[in-house]
């Protein structure tokens, strides 16, 4: 039985969430490994959410929102774009493979694109394997002191 990755998706309400909904109502077949978390805007996505997802067992992450110039709040996605450009390279620097994270712009009418983003992410993370490295960061077992 092959490994089924757990993917957490942080998506904006106005574009990607609606686009994902469209994929559903259009009966598009796609991988079912994704757990969606809806936020008002990609500008609301704090990189800490991504870290928390990895801490709690996610093998991969999708961050998705409105295309530039289409943000419901005018500029949220522009701020997210800068923020994640920095964060992504910071993660890469400490050895977290950015291939585990997909960033995308998916509009409310792009049900097909959502399907592609999901399927591609699931296959890519499946090939990378479970994110044991993050899970292995669990604190030391009781009874043994760590000597630093």
């Amino acid at each position: 039985m092959s490994f089924e990755p757990k993917i957490t998706a942080f998506v904006c309400n106005w574009c990607t969430y609606t686009g994902a909904d469209l994929a559903g109502t259009s009966r598009l077949q796609m991988a079912s490994n994704v757990r969606i978390i809806r936020l008002p805007c990609t500008g609301r996505i704090d990189p800490l959410f991504l870290l928390k997802a990895f801490e709690r067992g996610a093998d991969g992450i999708i961050v998705s929102g409105c295309h530039p110039a289409d943000c419901h709040y005018n500029a949220g996605n522009y701020h997210a774009r800068r923020r994640f450009a920095i964060f992504r390279e910071l993660l890469d620097f400490v050895g977290l493979d950015p291939a585990r994270i997909t960033f995308s712009w998916v509009s409310a009418s792009e049900g097909n694109k959502w399907r592609e983003v999901v399927n591609d992410t699931v296959e890519r993370v499946r090939a990378l394997g479970p994110f044991t490295a993050y899970r292995e960061l669990t604190p030391p077992a009781a009874g043994l002191g760590g000597v630093r």
């Binding site: 870290l51 701020h79 774009r81 050895g95 493979d97 712009w105 960061l137 630093r148």
Partner: protein, 290 residues
């Protein structure tokens, strides 16, 4: 040095400032000093051991310093960049401080010295600094000095890490971060960590675990580096302050690298230039977004 001392004497004597924050000879080398009386101005020194970033004393979270009144602070160009950050972010008014710029040809790695400046001893931050004198200054003192000797153990460390596969980089950083005991020295010495309540201290919910295990430490240091991106002057005080010997400044250098390459921004000492995070351009690169 006499120029500095005379200036300090004058500023204290005529009441322009209540204290001059500068460097003095302490028991273990150069350390910060708050000179409040004109007759003590001779305590002030400046040499390549003047490593500390004194702008951190302007951090608004220091009520016992604020209570002294208006200060004059001795700043090298790198320190002035931190002062520009505080001004840019409205943590300080320009008329609340007198900045005494000092011409600098580089500093050594440790304020304990020796004061000899060469490729071996020069501090990593000086390798990327082309500014001999701060522009953000009310006065400028000190002789003209040549550019610092070029060395950067930090550059070497970064290059070495860049060449390694992810798994090795991960192992390196987890081994380093395992030693962190969350003393928060890195945060407390940083001039730009001035949040009244740090995100690390936020509970309900606790996004960043406060315990000193690797998982919590990783979340903390990644977040701090991110929150300093485009603001940090890479002065290296965090690395110097860390009792566990973790090369924290490398994370800040990485964020600075991204900011320079993608947004063409390098932290300077002009508070009028807007910071890159909190602003954007319509044509920002987005090749990593599908």
């Amino acid at each position: 040095m006499n120029e500095l001392r005379d200036l300090a004497r004058r500023l204290l004597g005529d009441g322009t400032v209540k204290a001059v924050v500068g460097y003095e000879e302490g028991p273990r080398g150069v350390r910060p000093v708050f000179v409040t009386r004109p007759e003590d101005a001779d305590q002030l020194i400046f040499d390549p051991r003047a490593v500390q970033n004194l702008v951190t004393f302007l951090n608004p979270r220091r009520p016992h310093v604020k209570r002294l009144g208006k200060l004059a602070v001795v700043v090298k160009a790198c320190d002035a960049r931190a002062a520009a950050g505080l001004l840019r972010e409205s943590q300080l008014r320009r008329d609340e401080v007198v900045l005494i710029g000092v011409r600098c040809g580089g500093v050594v790695q440790s304020p304990e010295g020796p004061a000899t400046l060469n490729e071996e001893t020069v501090a990593p931050r000086c390798g990327t600094c082309a500014q001999r004198v701060p522009t953000l200054a009310d006065h400028v003192v000190g002789p003209e000095l040549p550019a610092p000797p070029v060395q950067s153990s930090e550059d070497e460390m970064m290059a070495r890490l860049d060449g390694r596969p992810h798994a090795e980089r991960w192992d390196f950083w987890m081994a380093e971060l395992e030693r962190c005991v969350r003393c928060n020295a890195c945060r407390e010495v940083c001039p730009l960590c001035f949040c009244e309540r740090c995100v690390q201290d936020k509970s309900e919910p606790q996004w960043i675990e406060s315990s000193p295990h690797v998982r919590g430490n990783l979340a903390w240091h990644l977040t701090r580096a991110l929150h300093l991106a485009g603001r940090c002057s890479t002065c290296g005080e965090c690395t110097r302050a860390c009792p566990a010997g973790i090369p924290l400044n490398l994370l800040n250098r990485q964020a600075a690298r991204t900011v320079a390459a993608r947004f063409g921004y390098v932290v300077g000492d002009d508070p009028g230039v807007a910071a890159p995070v909190g602003t954007f351009r319509q044509d920002d690169a987005e090749e990593f977004i599908r």
